[in-house]
Subunit: 211 residues, 2 copies
DNA sequence: GTATGATTTAAACGTATGTTTTAATTCTGT
DNA sequence: ACAGAATTAAAACATACGTTTAAATCATAC
């Protein structure tokens, strides 16, 4: 190819701008300008703006979900071998840890984390259906595993608590930098690992609460 | 006035459409058409589309925050009289309960709840700064109260846990109807009061976790 | 080296947007 | 009833958008 990978350059640029400004507030002209490619390249390579968004999402989401599902299945298998139920903290970890760890792997993936969090919040119709379609198998498995680990909870309670955890997670993913609704005197950014453990403390306690 | 309250009709229509489709995906033409007023009325009464968004937010947020702050101050005062620290569950309740109770007060406020949740997720620049400005005093007070109630937690831990709670809450506010990433067999929608208690169980446990 | 298919380019298309303008209309106070 | 201010109305404005077109350029295989 003449230009080194036009498609990838578009995907990177789109990922960054969608994550920063949102889907509707981002124009193809600014995406292609930042990627230093021609305006028509998006429609040539992807078909439409919406298809570009889908490509942006899928490029990262599928590998991520493979990792998450792999860790979850491995955990369940190991627990079964010892004839024990897996701890809810470990189950949640298989979902949370790979997600937040994306932030360490360079700024491109950082954009995706923010974008993912934002999609969960955007009005349905555009990306939500794509997203749900790619998340559903994992979520079902996660729900089953938690149900196994916390049999005393009703399905409704478990469902909502998982809902709460996902809400928190998507919030963290969106506001990785300057959230600061509460302006702290000393607001040292924790490391990703610290954040994971801090969130697991919170989420596990909320999950396991007997009430 | 000839038409009964053009401004209110615009605010209602805008609130509904901003909440449903998002700010950027909503046009002034569809807002004014739904409100059955002239297109130019928005710029005449509010000045611009962005100023309209601000008006939509402030109309509901200020009264809501007055209620929340009032309940919080009353709680703190009562606790001080008995020389005790308020329970973290009660503190969280002053914030969560008035928010979710908006959903019972008619469908107009329901729209606002969804919109509020969405603003927390939208890219900063448009509404975020408005929102933060109006939330800050309340959040500071909330943080102080929780710090009083949970003195064993470091400020950093407390800050993040409050962050998690707000994330969950905004997620609930956004997805009041069709969440269903996990398609439940029996997904009976709980009443608002049940939801409040269920969320308080979760959030309080996560907050109070000693680790 | 030239023909073929894939890609890039520049330009235009049709449409939709937020905003402004100017005139008509309605309300208010006397 | 009437003058003046406030509001509404219809139209136009300038601009930005996603998409399409048609020619130019490139890569590759014969």
């Amino acid at each position: 190819m003449s230009q080194p990978d036009t498609k990838q350059r578009i995907l990177n640029s789109a990922e960054h701008q969608f994550a920063t400004d949102g889907y509707h507030a981002t124009s193809l002209r600014s995406i292609t300008a930042a990627a230093a490619v021609n305006l028509a390249a998006v429609n040539y390579h992807f078909g439409s703006k919406e298809a570009l968004l889908e490509a942006v999402i899928i490029r990262r989401l599928d590998p991520l979900n493979k990792i998450r599902l792999g860790k979850l299945e491995a955990l369940l298998k190991k627990a079964e071998q010892v004839k024990e139920v897996p701890a809810s903290r470990d189950i949640l970890r298989t979902f949370i840890e790979p997600t937040l760890h994306l932030r360490q792997q360079g700024s491109d993936t950082e954009d995706f984390v923010a974008l993912t969090g934002r999609i969960l919040a955007e009005p349905r119709g555009v990306a939500m259906s794509i997203f749900i379609h790619h998340m559903e198998p994992l979520m079902i498995r996660l729900f089953q595993a938690l149900s196994l680990s916390l049999p005393e909870l009703s399905h409704q309670t478990l469902f909502w608590r998982l809902h709460f955890v996902i809400g928190s997670l998507s919030h963290i993913m969106r506001c990785h930098e300057r959230h600061s609704i509460v302006p702290e005197d000393i607001s040292i950014d924790p490391s990703v690992d610290e954040l994971v453990e801090m969130f697991l403390d919170f989420a596990t306690a909320g999950m396991e609460e007997t009430k």
